[in-house]
Amino acid sequence: MFHWLEKHPFFFAVGVFVVIAFAGLIEILPNFAQASRPVIGTTPYSTLELAGRHVYIKNSCNACHSQLIRPFKSETDRYGHYSLSGEYAYDRPFLWGSKRTGPDLMRVGNYRTTDWHENHMKNPSAVVPGSIMPGYPWLFTNKADVDTAYAEQLTVAQFFSVPYNKPVPMKDGSTKTVKMGNSVAEANALALAEAKVIAADMKDQDVKDAVARGEIPEIVALIAYMNSLK
């Protein structure tokens, strides 16, 4: 049979494809319906948080920081409850990372504050002596891209039924509604309202002034995203 295949390239290629596709069919497909259900308390990202997530991705924070807490005592002691599949239901793309040059950030919103992030992103080794993380001063001047975040919200709401403007069940039995604007202007207004809350806790006068003018520096969006990681 193999000798015959080696003289018939078409059937050879079909044979190879069947053999390599087999694992995907068995392993990948069956999980799809099951794993995408959110756990109670998981909410979609707000416009500003999503813009911050884009800043996180733009700077490849995931190259050094994981967002996956494994079920070991040493990890739950350090980072909090181990990760549950449904907590990632609105993560497109997933940001688990593959290397912990720095600590895990899955629940960083539980133990770091706006103020801490502000100081740390400017000069990490001033906050954590010995840190090898570089500073990210340009985040304080670059403007966050709220429009693209809004476009992504519209896309996931339309194609994947992500529940924006709909009540989402919370752990305490209440519900929470994450708002998404009806227009670009409205989305920007929502993001700015959120940015003002963050900026109020910050010290950098330029950032405060920018937000007062109606602009959103990347750092504000990034901190909004990091604070949402719980």
Binding site: K7, P9, F12, A13, V16, A23, G24, E27, I28, N31, F32, Q34, A35, S36, I57, K58, N59, S60, C61, A63, C64, S66, R70, P71, K73, S74, S83, L84, E87, Y88, Y90, D91, R92, P93, F94, S98, K99, R100, G102, P103, S125, P129, G130, S131, I132, P134, P137, D145, D147, T148, A149, Y150, A151, E152, L154, T155, G181, N182, S183, V184
Partner: protein, 498 residues
Amino acid sequence: MENRPLEYDYTVAKMFMFTTIVLGIVGMLVGVILAFQLAFPSVNTFLGSGLAEFTNFSRLRPLHTDAVIFGFTLSGIFATWYYVGQRVLKVSMAESGFLMFIGKLHFVLYVIGVAAVVVSLLAGVTTSKEYAEFEWPIDIAIVIVWVLFGMSIFGLIGIRREKALYISVWYYIATFLGVAMLYLFNNMEIPTMLAASPAGESGIGAWYHSVSMYAGTNDALVQWWYGHNAVAFGFTVPIVAMIYYFLPKESGQAIYSYKLSLLSFWGLMFVYLWAGGHHLLFSTVPDWMQTMGSIFSVVLILPSWGSAINMLLTMKGEWQQVAASPLIKFMVLGSTFYMFSTLEGPIQAIKSVNAIAHFTDWIVGHVHDGVLGWVGFMIMAALYHMAPRVFKREIYSKSLMATQFWIQTLGVVLYFTSMWIAGITQGMMWRAHDEFGNLAYSFIDTVTVLHPYYTIRGIGGLLYLIGFLMFAYNIYKTMTAGRKVEESELQNASPMGA
């Protein structure tokens, strides 16, 4: 006409040899910069704080991985295909104007794609998925480049004189099919410019932005099914294709066992695809998949070692060639590193080992003993073997090649030993508890302890880069100043100057 030997046409092979060398230098240089950034953070601003956004670790890291995978390695795969394909199928590119056009178009679009990737990654335009960072416009360009590669493969096969496909061709076909399948499925994404707001606005935000069709755990599953098998079909399958051709050619020895090559090929095809789950051990992916990932990773030793042993036994009775020829040295040590790396990988895929190794530098070390010791050595050996045939000149300097071999071998050894120690040290420190059950170390303790190992790794990487520059120089001098040789000198062992 009937009696004239076939004249192979290496126009396209030469073009890809050029990008292999240039992109190899770029990718490895960025890698060395990254290594020193981890050891000495001030290197993050090596072009001044004004350009820090584009020179810091996180922005450069995807550029390094993509430049060595899709730049250096892929160019090497294409270069060897446009050389090996003609020879084993007994047909010349010059016989078909159409295939020659496809080959050149393949190269031109590839170079444009590479330029687009470099610009977009430096600008921070990325999907964040490892080795699939490109946004949808570049993905489309890559698919076109890949289709052209496929047309070249099957076009050349279509007009072949040698009816039976040689082993290397099996592996090139598998490379084409495997990458096509993986890349398409992992990059399923929806451009966000397609969305319209309730107010009727459309084309909102960045036109190049897209959102993954998969969410969370599913996205991770598809990504590592891709990520792991990008290694399979980028760093293993096509490199095995190369060694099956170049080692017998250079040594003048027949392949040790045809049956072993059959077993290894079909075994590798079937088993490799299952093993991706070992990147997701202890994650939120279902347990049975993690276990399958572990088990199949261990099973993977069989087909991997099958190929490697087949290569080493091909040298049976001719081991004096390893001492005599630096070119054979590259290939034999390459096979040995392949065995080493494919044993190390399964060990790391065992759950209890993975609990320590995952997220640490040991994984980085594992990748690099494979890519530096196996992929890099094999591609350089292939280009060394091709150079005299392509340029009709002898290799410029044998002693330079031998020096390069030892410098790079030392570099690889420094690299993986330092990363072993770094990884296991950090993994053990993360999980250490004191006598009262509290964590023994804060995270930063586990970072500062790594400084010496990061420095050693940087030196190892630098040695490898220096060796690569020696390789580039040697090939350049071969092209321009090597002694001209006759066809009769090109039968087996490549002619080399002092």
